[in-house]
């Protein structure tokens, strides 16, 4: 991929842990690449698989889904329900031959500003190496 390529990364994060973790990264002035676009949702339980598909349709080169660690969910069990969905959804993506290295799941607590910085940095660099997700973009451009 050319140097010019800057990946587009969509991050679905829960309002109570990861979003605050990202805020903390800011408060501590922890620098990371500007490629990620955060969409704030109440809970990982709200993050349906369709949103992930839609993000790739919208041209995302990678998607990050992040919420509260197990047992820390603001809504007691939203993240557990989400985790179960992801287990099955990832299998579906694997069956389809989806590029799994473009979808990332993390638990990042309100205290883990550092982890947010690391995760976003690593995902951005990794996706830079992978280049644009042409396989998916082709679907969206192809018109038979």
């Amino acid at each position: 991929m050319s140097e010019a390529f800057e990946p587009k990364i969509v991050a679905y994060v829960c309002n109570w842990c990861t979003y605050l973790g990202a805020d903390l990264a800011g408060t501590n002035r922890l620098e990371y690449p500007p490629n990620v676009r955060v969409l704030r949702l109440p809970c990982t339980g709200r993050i349906d698989f369709n949103l992930i598909v839609k993000a790739f349709e919208a041209g995302a080169d990678a998607v990050l889904v992040s919420g509260c660690h197990p047992a820390d969910c603001h809504y007691t069990s939203g993240n557990y329900h989400a985790r179960r969905r992801w287990i099955v959804f990832r299998r579906l993506l694997e069956t389809l031959g989806f590029e799994m290295e473009r979808i990332h799941f993390t638990w990042i607590s309100a205290a883990e500003g550092k982890k947010w910085q690391q995760v976003v940095t690593e995902i951005t660099e990794k996706t830079r190496r992978l280049g644009p997700y042409t396989a998916y973009r082709d679907l969206c451009e192809a018109h038979q």
Binding site: V53, P70, A71, R85, F89, L92, L96, G97, F105
Partner: protein, 278 residues
């Protein structure tokens, strides 16, 4: 068996235990059996049974045109009956509002039969035929399509589905024949917002088949009707099977087998695996 079947249905209709029998009929010898809806005792002669009864008739329980006929007697094979178990779990059928006629099945010359796990209906109100005819083991000759696919590198799997889905015309036969696709209005038919492009473009087709498969995850009973119904010959059922494997592997759940088992979704366990979560 056919005679016994017809007698049973005549009795049910005569005594007005049911108002309609949903069963199989046949127009011409050699042709595949087709669904028939018998409302008059004198018509039970149209009912048939045999290796050509592919269709999963439980799908008709969701049709309002059929519901309107009154209480139904439904002819099911062991595999079809699993759909009933799920429908009951999901509050779609009141078992009491239904008379289930189970047919002990020796397979219906369909690919799915090689992987059959329940030939003999287990919860029927009346079982017709010799119970316990054992499921035939998967024929070793035919390599399993899913295994073959999963053995390939991701890029090839993607290419495979790309070419398969390129033939999809969005006729929704896969949805309409599915007993478990009973939404009042399918998400693909909603346009505020548009979750799935209605176009039969690759984009729209991928979004549709991903959604369809996932909505049936840990629900699909593997009756194979979606694959049978696809006019483009797309093996859509493969996706469902793949997810059924995951449900079994991760949660020990097989849809439609154990009426008491807790569904995979809507529940959770603190020990669910998360090796993929950082």
């Amino acid at each position: 068996m056919i005679t016994r079947l017809r007698e049973t249905c005549r009795r049910l209709l005569d005594q007005n235990k049911v108002q309609v029998v949903i069963g199989y009929g046949q127009r011409r010898p050699g042709a595949a059996a087709h669904p028939v809806f018998i409302t008059r005792p004198e018509d039970v002669g149209q009912l048939t049974w045999g290796g050509n009864c592919f269709a999963n008739l439980t799908v008709y329980l969701k049709r309002k045109e059929v519901k309107a006929l009154g209480k139904a007697a439904l002819v099911v094979k062991g595999c079809d009956e699993r759909a009933l178990v799920v429908l009951e779990k999901e509050a779609q059928v009141e078992r009491g509002d239904l008379y289930v006629i189970g047919m002990a099945c020796d397979g219906v010359h369909a690919p799915k039969c090689s992987a059959c796990v329940v030939r003999t209906p287990r919860f029927a109100d009346e079982l017709i035929g010799e119970a316990g005819s054992a499921p035939g083991a998967a024929s070793p000759a035919a390599p399993d399509l899913l295994d073959v696919l999963m053995a390939k590198p991701a890029a090839e799997r993607w290419a495979f589905w790309k070419s398969e889905f390129s033939r999809c015309v969005k006729c929704y036969a896969c949805r309409q024949v599915c007993p478990l696709c009973y939404c009042e209005r399918c998400i693909v038919d909603k346009n505020r917002p548009v979750t799935i492009d209605t176009s039969a473009s690759l984009k729209g087709n991928f979004a549709w088949h991903i959604t369809r498969a996932f909505h049936l995850a840990a629900r699909c009973v593997g009756c194979g009707e979606c694959t049978r119904a696809c006019p483009a010959g797309i093996p859509v059922g493969l996706l469902n099977r793949s997810l059924a494997d995951t449900a079994k592997g991760n949660f020990g759940y097989a849809a439609g087998m154990d009426p008491a088992a807790e569904p995979v979704f809507g529940a959770w366990s603190s020990s669910d695996k998360e090796d993929f979560i950082r």
